[in-house]
Symmetry: C2
Subunit: 303 residues, 2 copies
């Protein structure tokens, strides 16, 4: 692919995904409007809309045609991702003041509001799914929605994203983190929602169990490769731009894939994972190359 | 009813409800087991199991017979209630160290774990519903489950419980709270989950829209009467037991129904609301009196 062309296509896809999901945001009205303002502030703080985009493109990969069927799930996963960032940024968690160049939710509003805005977004994700289900008249589509709801809630929960967060929290200041534990954190914290995005797209398009498993594997590989790339950039990126080789994670003495396995082996593993993901997607794709291009783009990025 | 007999019946019902819902708790296993321990700590901290019990009894009132169909929803609403207490107790919210005579979640564990345990319970509530839906083969029951899921998520969200919490937060130190605002808070924060309990029981038993509306009204009245009774007890209870007429809410100068309308009018309104709720339930009940007895019991309680 030619990179500059791909960036144009990507921007169009991001805009397309955002246009679809923003329709589902809560109205800022009523006595309780402050919580909706706080939810929307974080939801609308930019971001790459990766998860909704992955979901939309997986739906298309499996020949899904009616975007109105996938849109509520796209909105739901972005709400779940957004709530996790709001709660992650809280003083008791990562204590961050800025995200994407803007004040974090609890800095813009206050801590109590940020807690409720996070709760509100998580609840609203499922409210959005429930409303779409209630309106659905086709029993075949309804069955798919139930399956997608089950995957999404499982991957976001204590055996998925939240599970990764609690282990990450416990490991923060330990120096004896094993590779297995690190992989568990990455699988749950980073890969689970990517897996859920791709699987939900496939399920809603009517994919069979074998293909749903394949795309889950592509999601796992992409999520893990993305995370290893982050760790690599934290070392090499800083070296290039700051002229020193100490990354921010290393300064905090946080264990990363690179600190455990070394740069060379990390680069090889990242390459292996991403090539496998691209291969899976290409095999399903029948000529549709955007999703494989997107995976390649994400894991060859240099910032 | 004879009070001592009723208390025995009530205890049996509480135990029955708890036996049904505890099956749905997450296993404390895996690397992430700390979050399950934290979730279960709060879930198992006693409590009256009012919402699951209301749901179970509403299901029975409408001649629902297969408790396995209502049990996942009973567990889900108790998980939602429990998460709301964990987050409410956080330092940034009410900053409480004890609840029901035990350390609050963030005191027993830590603040970050309590945030994740709350998120975990909210997510697990919906995960539980999604799993039950996925297993359901009868399309008629599945349709009811979708309707129940929609009601539950709406009443728990920003137009229900969370909406009440944010307004309550904003009103905390204001002295010009109007009766409308106070009623909004009570409707959302207290009544919404009672409404959801009764409605979900009715929906799962196959009640028609008219009866679902009626039972929603009974839930609203019960929730509001329960809250006014709380405010009344805060004044009269303290007077009797402590020999002074200043309740804890009054000391904090928090506006209550009693401070706005006076004791006499509050008692009258509480009586009117509860009598109406009992009447609705009796009309539906066809001789089943437990639910109406329960409502009477709750709002004539003196502690």
């Amino acid at each position: 692919m030619i990179m500059s062309d791909f960036k144009d296509i990507l921007n169009n896809k991001v805009n397309e995904a955002y246009d679809l999901i923003k329709e589902f945001l809560p109205k800022e009205e009523g006595l309780q409007k402050r919580v909706a303002e706080s939810m929307n502030y974080s939801f609308n703080s930019g971001g790459k809309r990766l998860r909704p985009m992955f979901m939309m493109e997986s739906y298309r990969l499996f020949k899904g045609e009616d975007l109105s069927k996938i849109a509520p799930f796209m909105a739901a996963i972005e709400m779940i991702h957004t709530y996790s960032l709001i709660h992650d940024d809280l003083p008791a968690m990562d204590n961050d003041d800025y995200r994407r160049g803007r004040l974090t939710n609890h800095k813009m509003f206050d801590e109590a509001t940020a807690i409720l805005a996070g709760d509100g977004l998580l609840n609203y994700a499922f409210e959005t799914i429930s409303l779409a289900m209630k309106k659905e008249e086709d029993p075949v589509i309804l069955k798919r929605m139930v399956a997608a709801f089950e995957v999404l809630s499982r991957k976001a929960g204590i055996n998925g994203m939240i599970g990764g967060q609690i282990v990450d929290l416990e490991m923060e200041h330990k120096k004896d983190v094993s590779l297995d534990t690190l992989l568990f954190i990455h699988k749950c914290k980073t890969a689970a929602l990517i897996e859920a995005s791709l699987m939900t797209g496939a399920i809603m398009a009517g994919a069979d169990d074998e293909n749903i498993s394949k795309i889950e594997k592509a999601g796992y590989n992409t999520g893990l490769a993305f995370q290893i790339q982050d760790d690599i950039l934290d070392v090499t990126g800083d070296f290039k731009t700051l002229g020193k080789s100490v990354g921010s994670d290393e300064k905090n003495e946080k264990i990363t894939y690179v600190s455990l396995k070394g740069l060379k082996e990390s680069e090889e593993e990242q390459k292996r994972l991403s090539e496998e993901a691209v291969e899976i997607v290409k095999e399903i794709g029948n000529g549709d190359t955007f999703l494989s291009d997107l995976i390649e783009y994400l894991i060859t990025r240099n910032n």
